[in-house]
Symmetry: C2
Subunit: 286 residues, 2 copies
């Protein structure tokens, strides 16, 4: 059977007689990315992960501004550059007044960039909001991941990513097979309460694995509460990106990751999980 054959050869070009199934594409993409991320977290030189985060952030910003300002080339360039610069600034961990300066620059720069092409005027306020919010969303949260890595090391970053990615994956498969009750139908019709619970379970499981295996300094109760919070925040972050997609009439933020959609489709949960882990590191560990 051709479809079975193509599933057996995940490396096959998607332009072949029968395209790879979505599942096979997902697995093939994951098979490339998971080892790459583990390498960056544990074995690459320290600068490699923040550099990779900046690159991925630039791709995410490109997707975001393609949704919120598709017709405004200047704004799209602004969004990509401002987001990338903000990750670099945050990762360099300069004195506080340079962070405030970066924030002020994003506010003024974003609003002025909107002024370059104010038409159509009735949508200009929406573009202006995102010209400021976009770099802070993508650049600020990828910056938070970079800081989790630089302050906490690879294992804390791995926990943040596990909470985001495993929750997504468990939610997708369990929701597809057993999902019945919609979670928030108006925003994301395919997400179910069953999928969400499976995701939370997977997130807590990754917290327990962290406690047992790769982050032994984390006590079991803290591991459970923190991974639950990070996973719940991740699911909420996923819903937020769904709002942007549905409100702008886009189905997937991009196609960079075959089977997964765009960078933002994959990173939306993880960004909010990382923000939660970052808050824990700053507030509890100081």
């Amino acid at each position: 059977v051709p479809s079975a054959a193509s599933q057996d050869t995940p490396g096959q070009d998607a332009t072949g007689p029968k395209p790879l199934s979505n599942l096979a594409l997902r697995l093939a993409t994951a098979a490339v990315w998971v080892p790459l991320i583990l390498y960056l977290l544990y074995w690459a030189p320290t600068w490699a992960f923040p550099l990779a985060a900046t690159t991925v952030c630039a791709l995410g910003a490109r997707e975001l501004f393609a949704m919120v300002a598709p017709q405004h080339a200047f704004l799209r360039v602004w969004g990509l550059l401002a987001s990338s610069c903000l990750v670099v600034l945050i990762a360099l961990a300069p004195p506080a007044h340079f962070i405030v300066l970066g924030l002020v620059a994003v506010v003024c720069g974003g609003m002025l960039s909107t002024l370059v092409a104010p038409q159509p005027l009735d949508r200009a306020a929406a573009r202006m909001g995102w010209a400021v919010a976009g770099p802070l969303y993508v650049g600020g949260l990828f910056g938070a991941i970079a800081l989790v890595f630089l302050r906490g090391g690879g294992s804390w970053t791995l926990l943040a990513m596990a909470c985001g990615f495993l929750s997504d994956t468990a939610g997708y498969f369990v929701g597809k097979r057993w999902g019945k009750r919609p979670l928030m139908a108006a925003v994301s019709p395919k997400k179910t309460i069953e999928g969400s619970l499976a995701g939370l379970t997977a997130g807590v499981a990754s917290g327990i694995v962290a406690h047992v295996w790769f982050l032994p300094s984390l006590s079991l109760p803290v591991a459970i509460v923190l991974s639950l919070a990070a996973t719940a925040m991740g699911q909420a972050g996923d819903l937020c990106e769904s709002v942007v997609k549905r409100a702008t009439g886009v189905k997937e933020s991009g196609g960079v990751l075959p089977g997964h959609g765009g960078i933002l489709d994959r990173a939306d949960a993880m960004l909010f999980s990382a923000a939660t882990i970052y808050a824990y590191l700053v507030l509890v560990q100081g």
Copy 2:
């Protein structure tokens, strides 16, 4: 003549037989605010000006969210609280990772607050952008003014305010009397190139006055260039707020300041001027 009489008595109650002219109201409001600001800058205890900036920021945030999310009570409360907290955080000048934490909290908090009431969904992306951008615009830039005061002292703050307010005032009167060529008709139909040039002249004049009188450490060439830049940025900031007003169908952001409109109508230029002065203080004075 009744109208002349009412102009001669600017203290008269606006509910009287003939309301005060706009000019008289402007002057009366300025007669209250100018001494108050000078007192806060030069004679009040150090905490008084940042506290006043926080209060004014809260009023400005209230106006902004009344424009961008008029029907969404939760978002309006979020906008007011997040903006006020951000000014306080920035003014306290904590270590950099707390500033980043505040930024991350505004990003996640703003996006999640939008999720509370996502309908109407087609405008939800616009509200989500401002739920993040709003606190950073109002809170971030009022925070920058507070830092100009705390780092540089009252005279630097006075220069920032003079560039914003005097440019507004000169532009208004000269533009009204001699203005012919529109500056950016689509965004703000009443602003003229003549008014803008008068504003720039007034801004540079306040820079020269600063050099001669209240900020002698500022050399004349730097005073001219810096006040020109701060004034031009202020005028651009004014146009940005005009974009928000016109795109949301609002004429004045509020009525807190009789004759001047709302807090944002008056502060929009000054916020961008202060951002410019703040950038100068951080980049040049370290």
